[in-house]
């Protein structure tokens, strides 16, 4: 057993030191009813590295790899090119096999990285302070709502209809148990989001308004009026971003008056990984709200010789100190994903992020124009970054997506999957385009979509 260094002689020597006859003597406190006479039944015995590799590779081979086909899925998880050096850095044992930096004198590496990460995220979001990460965008979204209820001492949150439905579901799930009220809505299939309708739902009991930017349909609009409307009622504006690359091209949420900005950081450094682990980003515009933030915060300080150093700070907000009065129950967060994000962001820098964003937008515009020429397809958005919604004639989009997969194209996310049972959304398809998309991929998508829609008419006739 290659991971177990003790030899039988070691074990005997150690038992002798302990004064136990056998290792089972160390388990005497386990009640009789729970003692087993040998290895647990129903599981295989240990296996060689080669045998395990064979097993796992067989499973991996059953999946269609995104990079092997024209690929257009987004809806909160985006396929970007991750530079090779990102993975090299995160596999350094000193980062990979370290723990949460509770002993700062021997964790300055992780701590300085977190300080730099917090700075990058705060600047990207147009905020004053970002934390050291949460699990993912959806849980960060709930944490923002919970924080807004603490700050305002109100218990109602108004969700935009164009918030990612899974994020909305997470918020509603938690609110059910905390007793907070969630006013949500479904997205209307319109070229522009209905911000007037959203603002009309803000009342004097509202703790926060939650708006996604760009939204679930890929639309982007100026949220300044929403911030003003929220603030006029004493509520906070929470802006959710699921595509950080977009913020290399468009105004930051902080600039538009967002009080709390949260998001998914997966686009940079982390990869698709079938949905996790991802990276929850969380920032506040006004430093006075820092003490209500969830999660870890890294701060600058000095050591006994006056040298600059970093520590986890303001931990009286946290569960290990405050227990049931903590701002969140979060402990382990997404440290290594934060490292991957920050290394990727460092490689990009201001210039690279802007270029990356511009390239995403350029290709998305190409794709939108090409798809608009396909009979039976209408592009919904007037404004978008790298993801937009198209309306398809023929069968529901979900079936078209399956058909496209059979044709070797991963053609997008059907809104029918995200909003089951909502007829008005059944024919909507979300198409995401990144720098990894080639012009050939776009042509292939257009061709196969045209064929698939045509085939779907033939079948229905």
């Amino acid at each position: 057993m290659r991971y177990l260094p003790l030899t039988d002689t070691d074990r005997q020597d150690m038992l002798a030191k302990i004064g136990a006859a056998s290792v089972d003597d160390l388990f005497v406190d386990v009640p009789e009813v729970a003692r087993l006479d040998g290895p647990i039944h129903g599981l295989p015995m240990h296996a060689s590295e080669m045998a395990v590799e064979r097993h796992m590779k067989k499973l991996a081979a059953k999946n269609l790899v995104a990079g092997d086909v024209p690929f257009f899925l987004g809806a909160g998880a985006y396929r970007h090119h991750v530079p090779a050096s990102v993975d090299t850095v995160i596999q350094r044992g000193e980062f990979l096999t370290a723990y949460t930096p509770y002993q700062p004198e021997i964790a300055q590496g992780t701590l300085q990285v977190l300080f730099e990460f917090q700075t990058q995220v705060a600047r990207l979001y147009g905020c004053a302070v970002a934390n050291a990460s949460l699990y993912d965008g959806s849980t960060a979204c709930w944490e923002a709502v919970a924080m807004a209820t603490r700050v305002t001492k109100r218990s109602r949150a108004v969700l935009s209809g164009a918030l990612h439905p899974h994020y909305a579901h997470v918020v509603k799930t938690m609110a059910h148990f905390t007793g907070d009220t969630i006013a949500d809505a479904q997205p209307a299939i319109t070229a522009e989001p209905d911000l007037e309708g959203l603002m009309a739902r803000i009342d004097d009991d509202t703790a926060c308004v939650v708006v996604q930017y760009p939204d679930i349909l890929g639309r982007i609009s100026d949220l300044t009026p929403v911030a003003e409307a929220a603030h006029a009622k004493g509520a906070l504006l929470v802006v959710v971003n699921t595509e950080p690359v977009a913020l290399g091209a468009i105004k930051s949420p902080g600039e538009m008056g967002a009080d709390i900005v949260v998001g998914e950081g997966q686009s940079l450094g982390v990869g698709l990984q079938f949905g996790g682990p991802y990276l929850g980003l969380f920032a506040v515009r006004d430093p006075k709200h820092v003490r209500q933030m969830p999660g870890r915060l890294c701060g600058e300080t000095t050591d006994a010789e006056g040298k600059r150093g970093f520590v986890l700070t303001l931990s009286t907000r946290e569960q290990h100190i405050r227990r049931e009065k903590a701002t969140s129950n979060i402990c382990t967060n997404s440290g290594l994903c934060a490292l991957a994000f920050t290394v990727h962001m460092t490689l990009l820098g201001e210039r690279g992020l802007r270029e990356l964003a511009a390239e995403n937008h350029r290709l998305a515009c190409l794709a939108a124009d090409r798809l608009a020429r396909v009979p039976g397809i209408k592009v919904l958005n007037t404004a978008f970054f790298n993801e937009f919604t198209v309306m398809l004639d023929g069968k529901p989009a979900r079936e078209i997506v399956r058909d496209l997969a059979d044709r070797g194209v991963l053609g997008g996310v059907s809104l029918g999957r995200l909003y089951p049972g909502v007829e008005a959304l059944e024919h909507a398809l979300l198409v995401a385009v990144t720098e990894t998309t080639t012009e050939d991929d776009i042509e292939r998508l257009a061709t196969e979509l045209e064929a698939s829609i045509a085939a779907s008419f033939q079948e229905t006739v």
């Binding site: 177990l4 699990y135 079938f274 405050r322 049931e324 399956r402 999957r417």
Partner: protein, 518 residues
Amino acid sequence: MNAPNKSGWKPAMELSEDGMHNGPATTTGNRALMLEEPLLFEIGRADVTGVDLPPVDTDAPTRLGGLGRAEPIGLVGLTEPETVRHYTRLSRQNYGIDLGFFPLGSCTMKHNPRLNEKMARLPGFADIHPLAPQSTVQGALEVVHQLGYWLCTLTGMPAVAMSPKAGAHGELCGILAIRAAHEARGDAREVVLVPESAHGTNPATAAFAGYRVEDIPATPEGRVDVAALKDRLGPDVAAVMITNPNTCGLFEKDFREIADAVHAAGGYVYCDGANFNAIVGKVRPGDLGVDAMHINLHKTFSTPHGGGGPGSGPVVLSEALAPYAPLPFVRQDAEGSFYLVEEENREERGPTFGRMTAFHGQMGMFTRALTYMLSHGADGLKQVAEDAVLNANYILRSMEDILHAPFAASGPCMHEALFGDKDFTEGLTTLDVAKGLIDEGYHPMTVYFPLVVHGAMLVEPTETESKAAIDQFITAFRAVVTRALDGDEALKAAPYYAPRRRLDETGAARKPKLAYEG
């Protein structure tokens, strides 16, 4: 007596008054391999990038709704060689398991096998989208299914919720399932009982889920006070959260009796599985009456801690709680295909309490954990628990003659040994011992937790340490403890040899500086 070091090094050099080796100051502040590294924002530049992309065409038409960025973001970049060097230099200021013994109690800092990393990076796992058509991700769904089977079998539980993102998220999942089960019966219970030795996440989770938290005292022997707990049970108690093995390093031998009493009073039993490594493959929590238990894949199943995550916290559930499991979950149909039960599967999803995260959980951790389980097998995992417990008892019995071990008389410990600072010379503390261990080349044990022991030191060696490594640690630990017993004032200023001396944490909190301001 074990030689403190086999490299030939001898403690011959005397320290100067400030505790440092004599030698001239360097111009750079570097000391050979100990290298100072500036902040990214002090060395990066706005116009530099380490990625080759087409330059921005400012004349190209955009469809950004008039929201194009006008102001600089304030980011800086480095070229690839500078990036690799910046992070490599920073990495060397970190302690990790790869570097040495890391006996951080309750955190299970075991070796992270590299096969796990290799398997998680297979494009078939790493490069697939969570919303890809399910026919194209059958292998991924099968991984979730297989891992679920392992977890259910190892715990003797009928169901598992795979989506929770970490241990605390798993706790939340279990407590929400409990609350949903009570609500389904129209039973509005308000209280969750938590032993005072519990992890802080337990009371925080219960409060986050809308419950009032009440403490249950511990007995002098370090276990839950069963009589006090039974006295407190009643129609308002929704659940009891118990860590087993507990944070004092002991098996809760009355767990079954507690569970039966809780069930008789209409409550549920949540078991914090943070310490599952002590019993994996050896004891099935299902045999003890558990209703819900999270499993930290990043502890027991060797996925890396990564400097603070990502973790993964699947939750095994009893028959009573299984119907309330959060979406999504994986099922297998009659033809053998795997599918996700999501919001749309109205018939199948049952009375689920909702959704905890956008997608399906920590797939990247699932592949690593499954790789680890397959490597060890049922026999290897049993050996894991036995060696982990053996190592901890060896440390306990090698230290108890000089270091206060409050529960040493309570019987064998499980996978961690707990000590207290009772006999230290006044003015010297557990923190000083921890910092002294840093100078000796060790990551300190968990300190000041659990709260039930004064100046607690919780030592968890794990099973992946050799006897030689543990013997060397014991030698160092005894030496540092002896200094604390003897009142060695120099210990109060340790560490001397780390990249930084003691850091001013009070100052950091008083005037928080949480981002670079240059």
